[in-house]
């Protein structure tokens, strides 16, 4: 049975109980089996990585978690109850936020406005009030702007607050995407290849921010990443996938010494 008690990491952090559990997930597209009978859990407060070679089904798995795909078989358990099939925006309302592998920001809008969209799930003033920017809409915007400013301060992007996103370099766009996800104050943050295409300095910055987010806000993070150095340094536990199957699960050290994982990455002679 799964331990729901939590555990203590190598560097002495206390990790909470199970936040999300994937039970025997299978995902098919017609005859193609993208994910085959995979189970794993994500504990509260941990950094959980999903790794694997290209085409292993990592992004599909992330899309199952975020509600973009409904699994063909299996169950998703979130905060102690089984999650019925849901639309992505409903999942988002439950406190799951994500960033995308290919940046999905509003290029023509300023950084501030982009990050504000992350607060959308927390706004519920009516159309009339919004249009007149009066009463509830105004109070709400001020309250949300304050939250957004804290995120901007946290990620050190004050100097580009008013800059249209289209004018920013790649590394900063990635950071803005993270800001938008953080603005939603998620309990689970999904990061789809947060370091893809970055230079060493940008990677170092991003790693620091991911750890800071986890540390300061206690946000649970699930990330997909190709850069093994980054994964092994950042994450508490790692799931390894290959051809839609789970071939390893454990701490970075356990995974590193797992023969199946080594074979999957380096190939085996036939």
């Amino acid at each position: 049975m799964k331990d729901t008690e939590g555990y203590v990491t190598a560097d002495g952090r206390q990790i909470g109980g199970t936040l999300m559990e994937m039970r025997n997930i299978t995902l098919r597209f017609g005859g193609v089996v993208a994910i085959q009978d995979i189970s794993f859990d994500i504990h509260e407060g941990e950094v959980r990585a999903i790794i694997g070679p290209n085409g292993a089904g990592k992004s599909s798995m992330l899309n199952v978690i975020s509600g973009f795909y409904t699994p063909s078989e299996g169950e998703v358990w979130y905060k102690g109850s089984k999650r019925p099939p849901m639309k992505p925006y409903e999942v988002a309302r439950q406190g799951v936020a994500r960033t995308f592998q290919n940046i999905a920001l509003f290029e023509g809008m300023s950084v501030l406005d982009n990050v504000m969209t992350g607060r959308l799930t927390h706004m519920n003033a009516g159309v009339g009030s919004q249009a007149l920017w009066w009463g509830k809409a105004r109070d709400e915007e001020m309250e949300n702007r304050e939250k957004v400013e804290r995120v901007i301060d946290f990620l050190e992007i004050q100097n580009i607050r008013k800059t249209p996103v289209g004018r920013l370099p790649y590394g900063l766009k990635k950071r803005v995407e993270l800001a938008r996800a953080l603005a939603a104050e998620p309990s689970l943050l999904l990061l789809d290849e947060p370091m893809a295409g970055m230079n060493v300095e940008e990677k170092e910055d991003m790693s620091r921010f991911i750890l800071d987010v986890n540390d300061e806000f206690g946000t649970t993070i699930c990330l997909i990443e190709h850069d093994m150095g980054v994964v092994m340094d950042l994450s508490d536990r790692v799931v390894v996938m290959d051809y839609g199957k789970k071939i390893g699960d454990g701490t970075p050290d356990e995974v590193r010494n797992n023969q199946d994982v080594i074979d999957a990455y380096l190939g085996v002679p036939h």
Partner: protein
Amino acid sequence: MAHMTMGADGLRSVPALLARNASQFGSSSAYREKEYGIWQSWTWAETAKEVEALALGLLNLGVNEGDFIAIIGRNRPYLYWSMVAAESVGAIPVPLYQDAVAEEMEYVLDHCGARFAIVSDQEQVDKVIEVQDRLHQFEHMIYLDPRGLRKYDHTRLHQFSHVQDQGRAAYDEFIKELQARTAKLDYDSTCVMLYTSGTTGKPKGVVLSNRNIIETAKASSEFDSLKVDDEVLAYLPMAWVGDFIFSIGQAYWSGFCVNCPESPETMMTDLREIAPSYYFAPPRVFETQLTQIMIRMEDSGTFKKKTFDYFMAHARKVGPAILDGHNVNAFDRLKYKLGEMMVYGPLKNALGFSNVRVGYTAGEAIGPEIFDFYRSLGINLKQLYGQTEASVFITQQPDGEVRSDTVGVPSPGVEIRIAENGEVFYRSPGVFVEYYKNADSTADTKDAEGWVATGDAGFIEESTGHLRIIDRAKDVGAMADGAMFAPKYVENKLKFYPNILEAVVFGAERDRCCAFINIDLAAVGNWAERNNIAYASYQELAGHQQVLDAIQAHIEEVNASIAQDEMLSGCQVHRFLVLHKELDADDGELTRTRKVRRKIIGEKFEDLVNALYDGSTSVYTETEVTYEDGRKGKIKATLEIRDAKVSPASSQRIAAE
């Protein structure tokens, strides 16, 4: 002006000034800082409360009279309060440069024996912890921003707001003690200790008393009639004497508001939002801004560019005259007004200079073109000459007598004397008390009558009484043939070109002068972009043939201009190379105030200097560099050495005569 309360025994310390401001200007703003996108502000009354809470908190931590408290971080209201709170409890604040690496900090912390430190964030906490093992006296550290520090051992580490809370909680216990200690402060007690940036050798701790700071602040505030409703932007290093005088001395004397930017990167935006009325910047800042304006104008459309050029030409013609209140005919005035509407006004607004009433530049010579550019826009930019040992002010330019080649007349209360060898001496109420734990240096610099050697060579213009500075006295040397060698003079002329960021001229005891050049990446990079020149790195751009051609042309122009000067015609640059890396304070090549450390550069790049003199046309070199995180790396490069055309010396002049 609200200085009538200057009683016989009142206002003899900065905390006393704070008390006066809290009662007299209680509801006007003392500090503002942009945080979370909004300008947060504190009135003088609130400031007094915050400082009191912190001072009580310091007593609670066991700060004794005479203790040194290091203050490290960028300009923030909390750190300014820390300085005043430190003085209130009879301790001595020692602001340090926040970009200093750990070893530099270790020297200063060890030298002053600081028992306490108040720092801004995790970065500074880490640096102080790193050197702590070797410091025996160190006890407690207080930090502002808790980010990333949650898991640190908090036995000797305290969050700023908690210290204040504890201070408030222990109000009854310590308030008597605090009042007694503050009351004891007089004109001769130490107000602050500032470390000189150390162009040569180790930094020295300059002890400045309340008398130094308050007398200087009073005289200079009156000189420019600073008032309670003035606004300044505090963005220069807190460890620098200028910032202390502007943001504490004058601010507390006049009661004006000190605004702190959100982060160094947002400085320009914040400047625009605040639009200060009193502004100070080293020449480098003005140069960078001008370079940026010019780059952006090059990129703008034809109509805009033409309009800009047309009105700027007019501004150059009549702008300074209008600013100085000279007679200018009505037509030119009208045209200038039109220009104000079309170009100057919007430009000043974009730069954040719309409200500047008084602006100062100092620290280095400023290029005449740069200086005139700002003055022609109607910005009252003036020069002053000063140093830490004088509590800044030695000379400054009065309104209406502003020129780019002088540094002005002696400031109120300052006497000036020129020694036989040309070195400038001064005496004033602002003259420092001593160098801390360094009686020898104190005696070398300050004589029994209170005259202080500036280390600069200069002369007083007879017609106007203005002081002109030639060079650092110890840099002024002789070449092999005995001709005068003034490297700074040549370097400044070179640096006036936007393409050249830094220049280092060698030639003492040699038969001719040679130079290292650092290109300005912003200016040269933009030029490369416009001319479709591809480059991957600073190093590649610096070695590009066309860049070298451009630099060579600049040097030859400078040579021609130096040749006009009989005394210095020997200082023409014969050979030069463009350095493969930017000179950097982290590598010890510049001081923290970004002044060139000639000797260190000469030693470090000895191979390059030799190559300049042995006639070779290229040289291979490897240079160690320090990255921001303290790691070291190596840059390898082959540099081309070029000969520059030298203009015939004063013979031209003789022929003309």
